[in-house]
């Protein structure tokens, strides 16, 4: 499997922004084997990347649970799911996007989730880089959707609550024995006048500090215009900050 980078944090902290700009950096450095996974049920990553996605893993899970009793006995569900999962993947020139989608309904998903895990694991094995926009909060840890992650980046904004979430992610990962190779903290939308306070707070979390993303008007503008964040100019402050963060994550240039 390639390198897996997951971005987590509180809702609204800037996970999608960071994930999209990480993809941007990889694309710009010439990588061609990138899988972006949107694991947040409130999925925004496809929009941020400017790639429309029609269906999600959640949709096909539901589709199967409805139709499975009508499938002929000799028809393999694994093979059907694998094909559907490939079909719903959005293929951009240098990266693919897979959206996990809506949460489960009240039925039994043990068997379909088991099949899906095998399929997504094998899919991930096909790429050099996998960027995951994790769901908000801590659920991704207890559900172990982020267990094969190399670099876990926790994004926070300047608020104390967000820092608390970061610490909880760290502690819960330890408790559940989910070993990330590295656990980083990124601070988003930093007000220059608060920088000192924030850095002090960062220190107290004990997480490795990967960088700060400044407030960037062009991000908000692209967002409102529905433009892909991949098109942001190289000198936009957010892009520059994420490029530096990427260097900390020791990502090498493309082939």
């Amino acid at each position: 499997m390639g390198k897996v980078i997951a971005v987590s944090g509180k809702g609204g902290a800037g996970k999608t922004l960071l994930a999209a700009l990480l993809v941007r950096k990889l694309v710009k450095t010439g990588h061609k084997s990138i899988l972006a996974i949107d694991a947040d049920p409130d999925s925004n990553l496809p929009d941020a990347l400017g790639v429309p996605v029609e269906s999600t893993i959640g949709d096909i899970r539901e589709e199967l649970s409805v139709k499975q009793s009508r499938l002929p006995p000799g028809y393999s569900k694994d093979a059907w799911l694998e094909s559907r999962a490939f079909e719903i993947m959005a293929e951009a020139p240098s990266f693919d996007v897979l959206v996990m989608g809506r949460p489960e309904g009240p039925g039994c998903y043990c068997s379909v989730n088991h099949m899906l895990r095998k399929i997504t694991d094998s899919m991930m094995g096909d790429y050099d880089y996998i960027i995951i926009d994790a769901e908000a909060g801590l659920e991704h840890l207890s559900r172990r959707t982020t267990q094969n992650v190399d670099d876990m980046i926790v994004v926070t904004n300047g608020s104390l609550y967000a820092f608390n979430t970061a610490e909880r992610i760290k502690n819960l990962a330890k408790e559940l024995r989910i070993g990330f190779k590295r656990l980083y903290l990124v601070v988003n939308r930093v007000d220059p006048s608060h920088e000192k306070l924030i850095l002090k707070r960062v220190e107290s979390t004990g997480l490795e500090f990967a960088g700060a993303i400044p407030e960037d008007a062009s991000v908000a503008e692209y967002n409102l215009l529905g433009k892909s964040l991949l098109e942001l100019p190289d000198d936009s402050p957010a892009v520059k900050a994420v490029d530096e963060i990427m260097e900390k994550l020791s990502v090498q240039g493309g082939k």
Partner: protein, 446 residues
């Protein structure tokens, strides 16, 4: 002819992205596609022959999508028609061994892609793929003595091929559906839900699908073949102990092991005595209604109150958790279509209440004479109304009431007070203790 690309397991699971793709064969955007294996007489197969009907790879336009069929004919002393489906599944595996060739899905849904890289390496005719299939089938399945492969890309021919193949799939499925416990010697177990119910596991037979409705006997067999130590495993059924209840020595042996000693035996087709345990995520619950000596069923999507006056969720807490609880049984809706459906308890003759939406789903499998005798929420929402309904329609359970009434006439005497503890003694009353004690009241005597 030397194949210009690598062939091997390492290339399995390789996905070819749109950017890297030379051509697409079949797939969701192409109408006609399919694959089929047929068993022939040895004289009908020309071993090693590979044909391409329609334009070959080098005649196809780069970036295009085309109709596609793979037709494999095999012969061998030990190759029987029943093995066609199993052999057919190998087409998927072996095609994926080809460097730069992707094969997804099955039957009339196949989806293949050839990569630009492999095309440039010289993979410009399907004959290479055919050659690889011939070699792999004979090497990995020694029962295949002779094999010939035909690829079709001509649209009309693919269409005709698929129409014919559909009839063969249907015949296969019909045979599979008719399969029964008596005809197989292996059942399958499933422990996928043990995360929620550590002492529960499902026994899956041709007559009994998993409680969630997701895994039938064929799925179990396929999964156990791929990963015998995985969550789906083979259960040698052993001796038939009780035909009506569906009790097998092999099943009981595995029940003891897999339930961690919690359960000793399973009746596969009864909800009494030793019923199959339930995980937590069964599709529906069959529940015994003592007042009418019948069985009701409610499913997960039914939000109202059942005829017992409680909703599905309340019943579910009684039923789940891997405990053997008489009178409550988690089951798949599909199980209601089984010819052995609760056969020890009277099967459909004992079913008295169903949510309307379930009844609509399984109506064709309800014996015709019972269809209007089984109540839904539209007919009865409490026991009194249900009783009336059953009597009025002449449901078979009404016959049973007379026998029960005779039994009920015997008075159960209250147990006498015995002096325990506190001054003045306490009185222990066992109320309604015919089968279970519903209440044990311990109170001071005034």
């Amino acid at each position: 002819m030397k194949i210009p690309v690598e062939v091997g397991v390492v290339h399995e699971g390789e996905r070819i992205r749109k950017e890297e793709m030379y051509v697409e064969l079949g797939g969701p955007k192409v109408k006609s596609k399919g694959e089929l294996v047929r068993v022939r007489k040895p004289s009908e197969v020309k071993d090693g022959k590979v044909e391409v009907e329609g334009p070959d790879l080098d005649k196809l336009k780069e970036g295009g999508r085309y109709p596609f069929a793979i037709f494999v004919e095999v012969a061998g002393k030990k190759v029987e028609e029943d093995l066609e489906a199993v052999i057919e599944r190998r087409i998927h595996d072996y095609c994926n061994y080809m460097e730069g060739f992707m094969h997804l899905n099955q039957r009339y849904d196949i989806w293949c892609r050839l990569s630009k890289k492999s095309y440039e390496k010289g993979f410009n005719t399907l004959k290479y793929l055919g050659q690889a299939l011939v070699t792999l089938f004979k090497a990995e399945l020694p029962i295949v003595e002779k094999i010939q492969v035909t690829f079709i890309t001509d649209e009309k021919k693919v269409e005709a091929f698929v129409n014919n193949a559909r009839k063969i799939y249907e015949a296969r499925d019909a045979r599979a559906r008719a399969l029964s416990e008596e005809e197989v010697d292996t059942f399958y177990g499933c422990v996928l839900c043990q995360g929620f119910a550590p002492t529960h596991f499902c026994v899956i037979t041709p007559d009994r699908i998993s409680l969630c409705g997701s895994i039938n006997w064929f799925d179990g067999r396929a999964a156990a073949r791929v990963d015998p130590k995985g969550p789906n495993f083979a259960i040698p059924k052993g001796e038939l102990i009780d035909k009506v209840n569906g009790e097998y020595s092999g099943v009981n042996k595995v029940v003891k092991e897999r339930s961690l000693g919690e359960t000793e035996r399973f009746y596969l087709h009864s909800m009494f005595n030793f019923p199959h345990t339930s995980c937590g995520c069964f599709e529906s619950i069959a529940f015994y209604i003592p007042e009418v000596d019948g069985i009701g069923v409610a499913h997960r999507d039914y939000v109202g109150e059942t005829v017992l006056g409680v909703p599905f969720s309340t019943l579910a807490t009684q039923t789940g958790g891997g405990k053997q609880i008489e009178g409550f049984l988690g089951m798949a809706i599909e199980y209601m279509r089984s010819p052995k459906f609760l056969q020890a308890d009277g099967g459909w003759n004992r079913i008295v209440w169903l949510p309307k939406s379930v009844k609509e789903r399984v109506v064709d499998d309800i014996p015709a004479e019972l269809r209007d005798k089984i109540a839904t929420e539209a007919d009865a929402t409490d026991i009194a109304a249900l009783k009336e309904f059953l009597k009025e329609r002449g449901h078979p359970v009404v016959e049973r009431w007379r026998e029960v009434e005779a039994v009920e006439a015997v008075e159960v005497p209250e147990l006498e007070a015995m002096p325990v503890g506190a001054p003045g003694g306490i009185k222990i009353i066992l109320q309604n203790a015919k089968i279970h004690a519903e209440k044990v009241i311990i109170k001071k005597i005034k």
